[in-house]
């Protein structure tokens, strides 16, 4: 009998083991089915789209390869550091498996996914409609920003507008990508407040002005100068923006969210979750040790500045410069000057002054607020659009406004430009863009979108019909099992 009862208990135990015991939910973490579901979730999900901006990968895959590919800068750092990973971009030797391509691609699509969470899920939440549309507007602005990078860098790419895309997607034509960008930005312009309407604590969020300028930029990349002109002049005529009186502040800590800043990436001086490694990557690598020292300015860039231009010192840190009372010295193990066989200086150790943040440690560099759109860019884009639209006199106003500040009060230098010859002015505007926006990641795009790329970059190895675009990362081509096609000539 005992046997029977024991077996009975045994059996009972087995039955009692209900399936509940085998259901264990993730601890301390939400699942995607349950998020976002409240106005607070919506707020957090919107913030997360911005978080991508401080992801190291967002900045052209981590290293400033756009400047390195241009005539403005070299790889930098120690000669051996990243020689085979970043080095090849310097002379267009990069390949389809080049380091960083996948990081940029993945970083941007991650940002797009985060935007899609807001755009797709917020309409299902019950909350204040205008706030909801503002959030969606912010997400659409950022999605457009990310797609704009993708389409410029890689050409025709898969378009993802949902949180749950197919694993196998084919590429969409470049024009379709631009249509998505334009649609997103139109929504953002309509639903976002102006920058000046933001409370100080919310400044840094996407504004209607930022969306207008970004759309204008998109138009200019597509040679649609008419529409660009309207958008840019609206922003200029609003009177909400001006140039910082001191050029240093255009990128420096004093001008953060200032009068010249249209859209910038907020960052706090800590390594990790709140900082931005963008400046650390380019920080002085010597004494003091502020960073990795990539993106060192070229001799050609140094020569591009007119005599006395205050922007030169605010763009390039030369060894021996004293900044905030600190003397900048090179890394003793690397040569300060590299000469060619004829004794000509081909390279000098120097660093990007625009990412400098006062301090001695590497941590503080993480606090640099990278300016993505600043008013000087707006003025120069407006000048370019006006010139292309045959309004050179109006264009001169803006380009000379830029040059005025560069004079630093010395009227003997950087004379106003007065010629109204369209192609002369076009070259002048691009020259001005170069020196005004140097080492801010604009130069390579500016060359590629105009006829200037081939004459200027060919000596560095640039090939027309190939190097306008980066190759689609080989890893993506492989993963696509045939649904992605490599860019021409790669």
């Amino acid at each position: 009998m005992k046997l029977v009862s024991i077996i009975g208990i045994f059996g009972l135990i087995a039955l009692v083991s209900c399936s509940d015991f085998l259901s264990v939910n993730p601890q301390s973490e939400l699942t995607q089915e349950a998020f976002p579901s409240s106005p607070n979730d919506a707020f957090h999900a919107t913030n997360a789209v911005y978080s991508t901006l401080r992801n190291w990968h967002y900045h052209s895959g981590g290293f400033p390869i756009l400047d390195i590919m241009s005539d403005d800068a070299h790889k930098g750092s120690n000669p051996n550091d990243a020689l085979n990973t970043v080095g090849p971009y310097d002379n267009f030797m990069h390949t389809t498996t080049q380091d960083g391509l996948d990081r940029w691609w993945n970083g941007l699509y991650q940002g797009i996914r985060r935007a899609n969470v807001v755009i797709e899920k917020l309409p299902l939440i019950t909350m204040d409609e205008s706030l909801k549309n503002k959030y969606i507007g912010e997400a659409k602005f950022l999605r457009a920003l990310y797609y704009f990078d993708l389409v410029r860098a890689f050409g025709s790419i898969p378009i993802v507008l949902t949180t749950n895309p197919e694993f196998r997607l084919s590429q969409s034509a470049v024009v379709e990508v631009y249509n998505v960008i334009e649609e997103d930005l139109r929504f953002a312009i309509k639903n976002l407040p102006l920058k000046k309407q933001y409370m100080p604590k919310n400044i840094g969020r996407a504004s209607s002005d930022a969306a207008s300028v970004l759309l204008a930029k998109v138009f200019i990349f597509n040679n649609n100068f008419l529409e660009a002109e309207d958008l840019l002049l609206d922003v200029i005529q609003s009177g909400d923006y001006d140039l910082e009186p001191d050029y240093y502040d255009a990128n420096g800590p004093n001008g953060e969210h200032g009068i010249e800043s249209i859209f910038e990436i907020g960052a706090i001086s800590t390594e990790g979750g709140q900082g931005n490694q963008y400046a650390n990557t380019q920080g002085v690598r010597g004494s003091p040790n502020r960073g990795w020292g990539f993106n060192q300015p070229s001799i050609d860039l140094r020569n591009a500045f007119e005599y006395g231009d205050v922007r030169k010192k605010a763009t390039i840190i030369e060894l021996g410069d004293v900044i905030d009372g600190i003397t900048i010295l090179g890394d003793s193990f690397t040569p300060d000057i590299v000469r060619d066989e004829n004794g000509q200086i081909v390279r000098m150790e120097g660093y990007n002054r625009k990412v400098w943040i006062p301090g001695l440690s590497t941590d503080t560099q993480y606090g640099h607020n990278r300016r993505l759109i600043r008013y000087a860019d707006v003025l120069l884009l407006a000048a370019e659009a006006l010139n292309e639209n045959n309004k050179p006199e109006e264009a001169l106003i803006f380009i000379n406004q830029i040059r005025k500040r560069a004079r630093g009060g010395n009227d003997a230098i950087l004379p106003d430009i007065i010629s109204v010859d369209k192609s002369f002015l076009r070259e002048k505007i691009h020259q001005e863009r170069r020196v005004e926006l140097a080492l801010e990641g604009h130069r390579f795009w500016d060359l590629v979108r105009t006829q200037f790329a081939e004459p200027i970059l060919a000596p560095y190895g640039y090939q027309k019909g190939k190097h306008e675009l980066l190759p689609i990362p080989q890893s993506e081509i492989d993963l696509s099992k045939g649904s992605l096609t490599q860019n021409p000539n790669w």
Partner: protein
């Protein structure tokens, strides 16, 4: 109870010489003073055999009644024993046989027969959820004899398995005190966690680091499906069964055993690096004028400055005994290892409590409990720094301050500023009850727990190493850092089994097992990090906001807070298991086993897995035909097949989760805002990995068991391997964020062989053991479906370069990179061969493997395997009139090592000595390129692939046992003194500290990124019992 133990341990740990040590030492000394020879001794000899078969029985315990001195029979069933003249009775006992008391006859050789209890014929072997007669075994089980446990002075008892059990490969992860070892049984079965599970007295565990070797009675390694399938979803990587010591009714008078061992650890060998002058000469060749006078540069040997000889000690006292109703085993042990990089250390206290009690006649209850508090001090891993630090830098300036070491920092300063401690307590045990219905039927229920508490704390003061001119160097820490984390984990395991054993008319022997088990595993981790502690002293190592503050910015510096679970330790399981062993006429055996596991780690529909096995055994020696071979003691052929699982993934991989750890920065001034969004996609379709294993084995015993040998062929194919694969970027998971799939297959096959020979000439007895096994590891499949990759890249070096590529046809973690063929000797060669633009004369010539005229990433290829082809060991044991000598060798052949530490060179570092044989002009060197601080010649290539084969003298022991000693009125059963050497020498061509480079990550095996060296240990010890 745990609390009070914890308290007392923390008190004793505050002393370098602990209480335990002092007590042990005092007792031992007292003891040595009291021993005196005993008079009236006679020697008796005897033979013990089975009453029915009349075969000798090896291993029978023989003790003098009421005395406790004793011995056991050898393989031929003989024993000899010294007794006092007035001793009258011997007590004989052996598992499976009735205990017998016999009268002593000193005049002749005793011939004693023992009677079986339930038709047992043979040695009893512990198997999963029970034990079987060895004769009935159909599975491949490797056994570590109790005398081989503890031959290696190590924290980790499983170290004793190395070179002793065929099919087991053990690679130490690091020589740091407290570091573990990667254990692989029959190759590498999966891309994830390939470690076996451990079953300690019935409790299923992931490791046995908490166990003291001296408490272990036996270790069995379950290798094939017939043996492991009863562990279902946890058996795929093998199972190691550990039995700890028990008391016994044989010891009515308690037996006290004291063992103590003290040793010294030292670096086995240094890495041969350039000295100061050599470095300066090379530096001048790289850049002329770097050093004006190479004869006056400093010469610092950084390795000499950091490595020291340090002590290791291990002490234990145990007491065991019992009577008809109860038996007990209690022990307390203390282990301390000071690392050869000071001040790293590890110390552990062990309390062991194994009891059982009989109630009436049918119920037995008992417990097996281990409590092990430990304290570990961790030092920064400076071995990579030692390797890189330039010898021309001084460690200290004249004023005593730390010298600047460019690019790597002064390793001495890093050590001096490190304060990292890991404290914890592990409590593992179970309480069981058995109900004996009758001789055939037994019900057992056991409830076990594994509780662990860990506290980690780390403090780094603010410090700066200054340049000679007073400016700060790159080695500094602006704010003091404090980090704390506490983790708590427990699981409970409730197991119920019903076991029926019956021999029907002595022909049909049946052993049936049915069981049901439940398990819950839980964990929690809390971590905090802060900066700028108000004072550096240990009294202030707390994260309390007012005291960790950045005054200039007026903010509290609590930098991060983490609270969550350990994703590997949060799940529930339910299992049903059953096994049938049927033996006909002791000749033909069949084993069927089946386990069904349900786990909360998997989604509805995939929760349950079924793991069957079937096996056949044929005791050929029982056939009439074979009876005429007198020398043949046994001969068995066995075959097994089965499917076993592996469920070791983090519990949440199936969920698509929200990433709540993001932040956005807005506002002027900048302020952080909470940000959450979709994290990477989960895969709800995940299921178990399943390993199908086939095994054919032959076992043989010859010449009265003098020779025993076993040979197995095995083939394991693991399917549905859980592997993280890249998915297309447009999914939006982010860089490097992979999704886990059941998407790979791996095959391991090989032959295992073991042979033991033992014999005796008069007083000299000796034995020789040899084990060997081959491993062939090959990936059969990875990925496959759309958008999922088909290669796994791993082996990340410090600069992000990856040097392993696992794909179909290659072994797991195969090395890949460029192939080189010598050096460009002249301009002609440079012009003739394709080369990278950076290459010049005197540099390595990288081969254009795809012959496209360009050297690029496509020219990289398979360079070697981290998995050895052949693993072997042999041992010799000799005993002669009180002396014992043992020697264990162990080694492996056919694996490669990637010298990762040599490849990563963003800055100018020191070089290995071979750089001295550099290329200087045409023909000056065929292999060693002209020196450079890094770059082209340091691209991952076959130049950094080294032969990982080695042969190591794992242990060398010489001991002497005193006999006929007396302590006061009582006898001393045993007093043995010994000296021991571990890792005395290693024969290898590899230049690093050790060719044994373990990794838990199978995609990064055998990559030397700078490993804490495994020390050589010379020790002296004593064991006594009375």
């Amino acid at each position: 109870m745990i609390l009070s133990l914890y308290k007392s341990y923390s008190i004793s740990f505050s002393e370098r010489f602990t209480l335990v040590h002092i007590i042990t030492f005092t007792i031992s000394i007292a003891f040595l003073c009291c021993i005196s020879p005993l008079y009236g001794q006679v020697k008796i000899t005897g033979l013990i055999f089975d009453s029915e078969s009349e075969e000798p029985i090896p291993g029978v315990n023989i003790i003098v009644k009421d005395k406790l001195n004793g011995t056991s029979t050898d393989k031929q069933g003989y024993f000899s024993l010294s007794i006092e003249e007035n001793d009258q009775f011997l007590v004989l006992s052996y598992i499976g046989y009735k205990t017998k008391v016999v009268e002593i006859d000193t005049m002749s050789i005793l011939r004693i027969e023992l009677e079986q209890i339930v038709g047992t014929l043979d040695e009893i072997v512990v198997v999963g959820y029970g034990s079987l007669r060895k004769r009935d075994l159909t599975g491949a089980i490797g056994r570590l004899k109790s005398e081989d446990i503890g031959k290696i002075s190590s924290l980790n008892a499983e170290q004793s398995l190395q070179g002793k059990v065929a099919g087991v490969q053990i690679s130490t992860i690091s020589g740091a005190p407290g570091a573990g070892a990667a254990v692989r049984i029959r190759g590498v079965g999966t891309f994830g966690n390939s470690s076996p599970v451990y079953v300690v007295d019935g409790v299923i565990l992931d490791d046995i680091q908490f166990l003291n070797s001296s408490d272990i009675k036996s270790m069995e390694v379950l290798k094939d499906a017939s043996a492991t399938a009863i562990y279902g979803s946890r058996g795929a990587n093998g199972v190691i069964l550990v039995q700890t010591n028990k008391g016994s009714s044989l010891f009515e008078k308690p037996v006290i055993t004291i063992s103590t061992e003290t040793g010294v650890q030292q670096l086995e060998k240094k890495i041969d690096l350039l000295d100061g002058k050599e470095f300066a000469i090379i530096a001048n060749e790289i850049r002329a004028g770097t050093y004006n006078n190479v004869d006056v540069v400093p010469n610092t040997d950084w390795q000499d400055l950091v490595f020291t000889s340090t002590p290791q000690q291990n002490h234990q006292i145990s007491i065991k005994g019992g009577n008809n109703k109860t038996d007990y085993y209690l022990s307390i042990g203390y282990f301390r290892q000071d690392g050869i990089i000071q001040p790293s250390s590890y110390q552990r206290l062990n309390l062991k409590l194994n009891n059982s009690y009989k109630f009436r006649r049918k119920v037995r209850i008992g417990n097996n409990i281990t409590i092990a508090p430990f304290e570990q001090r961790v030092v920064p891993d400076v071995t990579f720094q030692l390797y890189r630090a330039q010898p021309v830098m001084v460690p200290y300036y004249e004023d005593g301050s730390f010298g600047v070491v460019p690019n790597v920092g002064n390793p001495l300063a890093d050590i001096a500023n490190s304060n990292s401690y890991n404290n914890g307590t592990r409590a593992v045990g179970n309480i069981f009850a058995e109900y004996i219905f009758n001789e055939s039927l037994l019900f057992r229920t056991s409830f076990g727990t594994d509780v662990s508490v860990n506290k980690y704390k780390s403090f780094t003061p603010a410090f700066t190493v200054f340049n000679p001119d007073g400016s700060p160097s790159q080695q500094n820490n602006n704010f003091s850092d404090i980090l704390k984390s506490n983790s708590f984990g427990y699981n409970w395991l409730w197991e119920n089994t019903l076991n029926f054993i019956h021999d029907f008319s002595k022909v049909h022997n049946v052993n049936l097992l049915a069981g049901f088990t439940m398990q819950e595993t839980r964990s929690e981790i809390i971590g905090l990090a802060g900066q700028n502690v108000i004072r550096d002293g240990e009294d202030f190592w707390y994260i309390l906001p007012p005291y960790i503050r950045d005054e200039s910015n007026n903010i509290d510096m609590v930098n991060s807070i983490y609270n969550g679970v350990d994703p590997n330790r949060y799940y529930n399981m339910i299992s049903y298991l059953g096994r049938i062993v049927y033996s006909f006429n002791d000749t033909y055996i069949t084993t069927l086993s089946l386990r069904s596991d349900g786990s909360s780690k998997f989604s509805e529909g995939n929760k349950w897995g079924i793991f069957p096995s079937i096996a056949f055994g044929w005791n050929i020696d029982q056939e009439n035909l074979m009876k005429e071979f007198q020398d043949l003691d046994f001969l068995k052929l066995r075959f097994s097949w089965g499917v076993i699982g592996n469920e070791r993934i983090t519990y949440f991989d199936r969920f698509s989760r929200v990433n709540a750890g993001l932040q956005a920065i807005f506002g002027n001034p900048d302020a952080a805002y909470v940000a959450s969004t979709y994290g990477k996609l989960g895969n709800p379709n995940l299921k178990w990995e399943s390993t199908t294993q086939t095994d054919i084995g032959l076992e043989m015993g010859l010449f009265n068991y003098r020779l025993t040998t076993e040979i197995d062929y095995y083939k394991r194919i693991t399917d549905d391997i859980l592997v993280e694969l890249s998915t297309p970027g447009h999914i939006g998971n982010g860089q490097g964020q992979k999704i886990r799939y059941n998407a790979a297959s791996v095959q391991n096959k090989g032959i295992e062989f073991s042979l033991d020979w033992s014999d005796k000439f008069n007083d000299l007895s000796y034995s020789i053991g040899i084990i060997a096994n081959t491993i062939h590891n090959e990936i059969l499949e990875i990925g496959g479906s759309d958008g999922i990759d088909s290669t796994l890249i791993g082996g990340n070096l410090a600069n992000g370069q990856q040097v392993t590529l696992s794909k179909v046809g290659l072994p797991i973690g195969a090395f890949y990179g460029y192939k080189t063929d010598g050096i460009f000797q002249n301009q002609n060669e440079l012009d003739h061969y394709p080369h990278l633009s950076q290459a010049s004369i005197g540099d390595l010539r990288i081969l254009d493997l795809n012959s496209d005229g360009i050297i690029n990433g496509d020219d990289r290829t398979y360079l070697g395997s981290p998995i050895p082809d052949f693993v072997y060991g042999w041992s010799i044991d000799i005993e002669y009139s009180g002396f014992d000598f043992s020697m264990n060798f162990q080694g492996q052949i056919g694996n490669n090592i990637f010298n990762g530490k040599n490849v990563v060179r963003p800055d100018p570092y020191n070089f290995e000595k071979h750089v001295w044989d550099r290329w200087t002009n045409e023909g000056s060197s065929l292999f060693e390129p002209k020196p450079s601080y890094g770059g082209y010649n340091y691209l991952p290539s076959d130049r950094f692939i080294h032969d990982g084969s080695y042969l190591r003298l794992r242990s060398l022991i010489l001991g002497y046992s005193f006999s006929n000693l007396k302590l006061g009125d009582g006898n001393i059963n045993e007093l043995r003194l010994y000296v021991k050497a571990n890792n005395l020498f290693t024969k290898t061509s590899y230049s690093g500290y050790t060719p044994e480079i373990g990794s838990y990550d199978v995609l990064s095996s055998s990559i030397d990124k700078g490993i804490y060296p495994i020390p050589r240990i010379l020790s002296f010890g004593m064991t006594t019992s009375f």
